[in-house]
C-alpha cells in the first residue's frame, strides 16, 4: 500500500501501483514507479477537474522522487533492485512490497537469484542500484546491529566448531539486544527457554548442536530467531536435506509463528501449501508475484523451468499441486 501525506494521517492511500481515483470532483490518474537511481519512488499524478459541462485539461503534476518515507506504509519495500557482478545481472529490477504477517515463498530455478535477493534484503551484499525501505526508512540508514533486531536469518547450513551446545546457539539471539559488558539475566534465560519450548526442543539443552538432526538444527536456529525478537524471519531453503516429516514440521512451525516470513523454497508443492504469496524469479527477474494459485500456472512454470508441467489440487488442503516431466523437445532448448 502506498500513501501520500504524513505517516500517521495519510491524505490519500492507494492499494495499487497505478489507478484512477475520484474525489471532490477531481479525477486523478496516478502511477507510482521506483526510480532506481535516486532511491525513491516517483509518483506521477495527473488530475483533471470534472464538472458537468466543462472538462478541463489533464494537468500533469509530477511529484517526482518524493521521499518514500512519505509514500510508503508497507513493512518492507524493494524498489528497482539491481545487482550485477562483472556486468552480469544477478537481480534485475526487482520491486515488491511486503506487508506485516505475510508468509512469502521465493521460487525459481537454480541461479535465478533467490538467495541473492535474500542477501540483498539482509544487506549482506549491497545492491548495485535501487533501494530497500524498511519501516519507511532506507535500509542503508540502519546499522547492522539495528537490522539484526528486525531481521533474523536461518541459513542453509550452519557451520559450528567445537562442541557448541543447543543452548549456546539459541542464546546467540540475545546479541542484538545486549550492550557490551552485559551478562545474561533471568529474563534472558526465560526467553531462551520459551523459544526452545515453542519449537519443541526443550529437552536436553546441553546437547551438542552438531549432534542434532537436520530438522532439530533448523528448529534451534528458528528458536534463535525468536530470541532475537525479529519482525521478519528470513529462511534460505529451510527444508533442504530434511525428510518429508521434518519438511512439513518446519514449515508448519514457521507459519504458526505469525510473523512476517520470507523464504526460498525449492519444492513448489510445499511452497503452495504453506505460503500465502509466491515470488517466481527467473534469471534475476521477478516473473510473477501473486498467490500460489495464480503463480503456479503450468504455462508459466513450464517456460521458467523448461519442463512440461501439469497441475491439479491437493485433495486435503486444496492447494495447487504441480507435476513436471522432461519435455520431449527438451534437447532443442538445452
Amino acid at each position: 500500500m502506498l500513501c501520500l501525506g504524513s505517516q500517521k494521517e495519510p491524505d490519500i492511500c492507494f492499494n495499487n501501483r497505478a489507478g484512477l481515483h475520484e474525489s471532490n470532483s477531481v479525477l486523478i490518474f496516478y502511477f507510482i514507479t521506483p526510480s532506481p537511481r535516486s532511491c525513491a519512488y516517483s509518483f506521477y499524478l495527473f488530475n483533471r477537474q470534472y464538472s458537468s459541462g466543462s472538462i478541463g485539461r489533464w494537468q500533469n503534476e509530477i511529484f517526482a522522487e518524493h521521499g518514500v518515507a512519505k509514500l510508503m506504509s508497507s513493512l518492507l519495500s524493494l524498489a528497482g533492485i539491481h545487482w550485477q557482478v562483472d556486468n552480469k545481472p544477478i537481480l534485475d529490477n526487482i520491486s515488491l512490497d511486503v506487508d506485516k504477517g505475510e508468509v512469502i515463498g521465493i521460487i525459481g530455478p537454480n541461479g535465478a537469484g533467490k538467495t541473492s535477493l535474500l542477501r540483498c534484503i539482509l544487506q549482506q551484499q549491497k545492491q548495485t542500484s535501487g533501494c530497500i525501505y524498511f519501516k519507511s526508512k532506507n535500509i542503508s540508514q540502519y546499522s547492522s546491529k539495528e537490522l539484526a533486531k528486525y531481521f533474523a536469518m536461518v541459513a542453509q547450513k550452519a557451520a559450528p566448531i567445537f562442541a557448541l551446545t543447543l543452548y549456546d546457539v539459541v542464546r546467540m539471539g540475545l546479541l542484538p539486544h545486549k550492550t557490551a559488558f552485559s551478562l545474561d539475566n533471568d529474563h534472558d534465560r526465560h526467553q531462551i527457554r520459551l523459544a526452545l519450548e515453542k519449537v519443541g526442543l526443550s529437552g536436553d539443552i546441553d546437547t551438542a548442536f552438531n549432534l542434532l538432526s537436520g530438522g532439530e538444527q533448523q528448529r534451534a536456529l528458528i528458536a534463535r530467531a525468536l530470541v532475537q525478537q525479529a519482525e521478519i524471519l528470513i529462511l534460505d531453503e529451510p527444508t533442504n536435506h530434511l525428510d518429508v516429516y521434518y519438511q512439513h514440521q518446519i514449515l508448519q512451525l514457521v507459519k504458526a509463528l505469525k510473523i512476517t516470513v520470507i523464504m526460498t523454497v525449492h519444492d513448489l508443492n510445499l511452497a503452495a501449501q504453506y505460503c500465502q504469496r509466491l515470488l517466481l524469479l527467473d534469471k534475476g527477474k521477478l516473473v510473477c508475484d501473486n498467490t500460489p494459485d495464480k503463480v503456479l500456472q503450468p504455462e508459466i512454470l513450464s517456460r521458467v523451468f523448461n519442463l512440461d508441467c501439469q497441475r491439479d489440487q491437493d485433495p486435503v488442503t486444496g492447494a495447487p499441486r504441480v507435476y513436471f516431466h522432461l519435455a520431449e523437445h527438451a534437447d532443442d532448448n538445452a
Partner: protein
Amino acid sequence: MITPKLSLTLFLLLLLCIISTGVALTIGPANIGAEEFINCYLGSCSSQMTEMVVWQVRTPRVLVGLVAGMGLACAGAILQNTTRNPLADPYLFGIVSGAGLGATIANIVLADELTVALPLAAFLGALFSVTIVVIIAKAIHRMEQILLAGVAVSFMLSSVSQFILYLGEPFATNRVLFWLMGSLARVEMFNFYVIAAVVLLAFILIFAYHRQIDALLLGDESAASLGVDVNRLRLLMLAICAALTATIVAYCGGIGFVGLMIPHIVRQLVGVTTLPLIAGSALIGGSFLIWVDVAARSALENAEVPIGIITSAIGSVFFLAIMYKTRNN
C-alpha cells in the same frame, strides 16, 4: 549458562591457581619455607639473602609465569574461536619468528644495551610480522586463512634471521638461540606489571565483545546476520592476540603450544562460550606455566631447562593426541 556445575568448576580452578602460585613460590634451589615467605612479605626477612631471593628472584618469576600463562592461553582461545581453527596457536602466526628477527637484529646491532633493546626489538619484530600477516590475509580477502599466511611469513622471517646469524658472530647466535628457547630466569617485577597490564586490557576487551565472539562459533554468515561486523571483530581480536603474545615473547622468549593446548582442556571442562572459556584458560594456563617453570628450574641440578623446550615437548604430544582424537571428523 551459569550452572552450579560451572561455578564449582571455575571455583576449583581458581583454587588450583592460587595454591599453585603459593606452592611454587617455595620451590627452588634456595630452601625457603612458606613461613619465611610470609614473614618476608610482611616486611621482616630473616636475612638479606632471603629478602633478595624472595623479592627479586622467586616472586617475579612465579608472577610472570602466572600472567604469561594466562595471556598465552587466552590468546590461543581467542585465536581458535575467531579463526575457527581448533589448531590455531599464537605462535603459529609469525609472532615468534618476527620477535626472533627483532631479537637477532638487537643482538647484532645493540649488543651493549640488550636489557632494554632486546624486549623492545622483539616486540617490534612481533608486531611487524603480525602486520604483514594481516596485510596478506586482507589482500587475498580470506581472513580465515590467516594461519596459512602466518606460517608463510614465519618461514620468511626465520630465514632472514638465520641468514643474519650465519653472517654474524657466534656469541650473538648463542644468545638468540637461548632466548628463543624461552625462559623465566631473567624476569623482573617490572615485566610482571607490563604483562599483567596487557592481559588485563585484553580481558576487558574480550569481555566487551564476548557475545560477538560467541556468534562467530556458528560461522561468519550467521554472525553477520546477528549484526556482527565479522572482519572488524576478527582484526580487533588478532590485534589483542598479537599484543599479548608479543609482550610475553619480548620478556620470556619463545614459549610455544600453551595457547594451543590449554583452551582444548578448558573446553572439556567449562564449555565453548567465550566468558567461561577465557576464565578457565586464564586459570589453567597460569597454573600450567607456573608448574612448567618449577620443572624447568628443578629438573636438572645446577642448570635450568629452557621453559619453551618443556612446553613444546608436552604440546607436540598433545597436538598429535588432538589429531588422533578428531580423526573421525
